[in-house]
């Protein structure tokens, strides 16, 4: 045991040390920072001014930040419904005994391994291009001239365009999670249900869905965690700094703390920290709600 003790310490130290430096210490410090007014990000603690919840009320009163939160909420909610529905649909098809399953699965997951910058560029410069874009070509080919003329990247359509492109890239990952959940359900259930005369739709409604509760929870949590960090896509789709159509809290934070430009009214790192705290609270809240709404009901399978 004594020998093991030495090894345990030796083996854990590098990982735990780096974890403390990269996660633990910064998280604690960010939480503290969110209650202070801090002019420069490199200021020593002695220069911080305690302002209580002022940073949070200030954010709540900043219309640009409110817009960014609204955009994030829309991305999370609308995008979430679209992605989860498509992912579930694809997962059901993939596991229904089709041929070339691995091939289909691999192609649907493919966008997830591509750099978001590259993927967003393909959408921006090709699919939505007003001159040689895919949408324009397809719609004019179908004779739908009014649709072919739509400027997908103007202010009225930009948000939808952004969301569509983002969802396309996210479906694959969530499909894999759903599919593995469905595959874990024993085929006995479906066979018994078939013998009892239940059709496919009812089997899905009364067997698959209830048994996928835990998987739904995983998917919603993962979706929320990735949505909260929404940044690259937004940056690529915005044509001006502080583009109200595409701004998200992360972009707002980046603009305030690290960005140059005229939109920065006041430098206060405390505000940035407050945004971080706010987003973390959102993640924890979603996690909590999911855990309570989607209780696993001790269904063993």
């Amino acid at each position: 045991m004594k020998r093991n003790k030495g090894m345990i310490i030796l083996f854990l130290t590098p990982a735990v040390l780096m974890f403390s430096v990269i996660f633990l210490y910064p998280i604690v410090r960010t939480v503290i920072m969110s209650f202070f007014k801090i002019d420069g990000i490199t200021d020593p603690v002695s220069k911080w001014q305690f302002t209580g919840l002022a940073n949070f009320t200030k954010l709540a009163n900043t219309s640009l930040f409110r817009i960014s939160m609204w955009n994030l909420l829309r991305i999370w909610f609308i995008g979430g419904i679209v992605v989860m529905s498509l992912a579930l649909l694809f997962a059901v098809i993939i596991t229904s005994g089709i041929r070339f399953k691995s091939f289909f699965r691999a192609v649907i997951y493919l966008p997830n391994i591509v750099s978001a910058v590259a993927l967003a560029t393909m959408w921006l410069q090709y699919v939505y291009s007003p001159k040689f874009g895919l949408l324009k070509t397809v719609f004019s080919g179908l004779g739908l001239d009014s649709l072919a003329k739509v400027q997908w990247l103007d202010n009225d359509h930009k948000f939808a365009a952004l969301l569509l492109a983002y969802c396309f890239g996210m479906v694959g990952y969530h499909m894999l999670i759903f599919a593995s959940g469905i595959e874990r359900i024993s085929s006995d259930y479906f066979e018994a249900a078939t013998l009892d005369g239940a059709n496919k739709l009812n089997q899905f409604r009364y067997i698959t869905m209830p048994l996928l509760k835990g998987v739904f929870k995983t998917n919603i949590t993962m979706w929320s965690v990735t949505s909260v960090g929404f940044f690259v896509w937004s940056q690529l789709f915005s044509t001006v700094t502080a583009d109200t159509q595409t701004i998200t809290p992360m972009v707002y934070m980046y603009m305030q703390i690290f960005g140059a430009g005229n939109s920065v009214t006041e430098r206060n790192s405390g505000l940035g920290a407050a945004i971080g705290v706010l987003l973390s609270v959102c993640v924890v809240a979603i996690f909590w709600v999911c855990n309570h709404l989607l209780k696993d009901d001790d269904l063993e399978f």
């Binding site: 003790k5 345990i8 030796l10 083996f11 854990l12 590098p14 990982a15 735990v16 780096m18 974890f19 430096v21 990269i22 996660f23 633990l24 210490y25 910064p26 960010t30 990000i41 490199t42 694809f90 059901v92 098809i93 005994g97 691995s102 289909f104 699965r105 691999a106 192609v107 649907i108 997951y109 493919l110 391994i113 750099s115 978001a116 910058v117 590259a118 393909m122 410069q125 090709y126 001159k131 040689f132 895919l134 894999l176 593995s180 929870k217 995983t218 949590t221 993962m222 965690v225 940044f231 690259v232 940056q235 809290p249 992360m250 790192s269 945004i275 971080g276 987003l279 973390s280 993640v283």
Partner: protein, 291 residues
């Protein structure tokens, strides 16, 4: 498993017909994916004029788009940076996380559960929660003013950010190994540390390969951390470099070159995926991601 099935089953047309709507939906989706990627690939070999007139490849293959992007826009530089970052970070991640994962999976000691909970929670922490203090520290230390120290810092950050995920992922592999190996080694007088490096680590190889692929893809595509912490153009990794390149190419009007740059960035992870897609897909649902 799916592969075996493909060769065994004779075509059952009745069954296939019933599945037709499913095939149709999937085919539509993947057709779109192929059109998207295929068009960009063809466009990267065409001239900008051909792209605008929708006549891709009308004058044959233009490889010069690639050589121009590689040399003039210095894709070579950002490519090399990302390669160095990914390879060093991925290797060190295993050296740091594999021992930790082994100890966490195999031994009972006070704090074990706490560390595991900490690592799992860290996977859900938004990056905003960590960048501000880290930036404050490194800026005060003057690390960002020197190319070498800044580069080392980037690698340090890439490693640190991926430690929780890598450790948790490897833990599942170690906990599935039989205890008989360690017992036999102990009876033969092999010290536990040596047992780990010589016996247990090689046996976790499938897990190590899978998690390294994921780490490579993550670090290769990493954007936010690099954007904030890479203070010099010389240090920019591929994602950040591509972003500024795209911005400048919009002004120079070299669309063909831009698509060539996109393809170059896309290629390494894509090639990896062609060969290892089954392993990657199994890894997504297998270890690490817990309910």
């Amino acid at each position: 498993m799916a592969k075996e099935k493909k060769y065994r089953d004779p075509v059952n047309w009745k069954k296939e017909l019933r599945l037709a709507p499913g095939y149709l939906i999937l085919l539509l989706w993947i057709t779109f994916t192929f059109v998207l990627l295929g068009w960009v690939l063809l466009a990267s070999f065409s001239t900008t004029k051909e792209i605008f007139s929708n006549k891709l490849l009308a004058s044959g293959l233009h490889f010069e788009n690639y050589s121009k992007a590689w040399v003039n826009s210095d894709v070579a530089g950002i490519f090399r940076n990302s390669l160095i970052y990914s390879v060093i970070s991925c290797s060190l991640l295993i050296v740091i996380c594999a021992p930790a994962a082994y100890v966490l999976a195999r031994f009972i000691f006070p704090g074990n559960k706490l560390i595991q909970t900490g690592f799992v929670s860290a996977m859900g922490v938004p990056v905003v929660m960590i960048v501000l203090p880290l930036f404050g520290i490194v800026a005060n230390m003057g690390i960002l003013n020197h190319v070498l120290s800044n580069g080392i810092l980037l690698i340090f950050l890439y490693i640190g950010i991926n430690i929780p995920y890598t450790t948790i992922f490897l833990m599942t592999f170690f906990s599935n190994l039989s205890r008989a190996f360690e017992e036999a080694a102990a009876i033969d007088g092999c010290p536990p540390t040596k047992t780990f490096w010589l016996i247990m680590l090689p046996m976790a190889q499938p897990g190590i390969i899978t998690v390294t692929i994921f780490n490579f893809i993550n670090i290769w595509n990493e954007y936010f951390i690099s954007l904030i912490f890479a203070n010099s153009d010389k240090l920019r990794p591929i994602a950040v470099g591509l972003y500024s390149m795209i911005n400048s190419m919009k002004y120079t009007g070299d669309w063909a070159g831009m698509f060539a740059a996109v393809v170059i960035v896309f290629l390494p992870t894509f090639i990896l995926y062609i060969f290892l897609s089954e392993k990657i897909i199994a890894g997504v649902t297998g270890g690490g991601v817990k309910g």
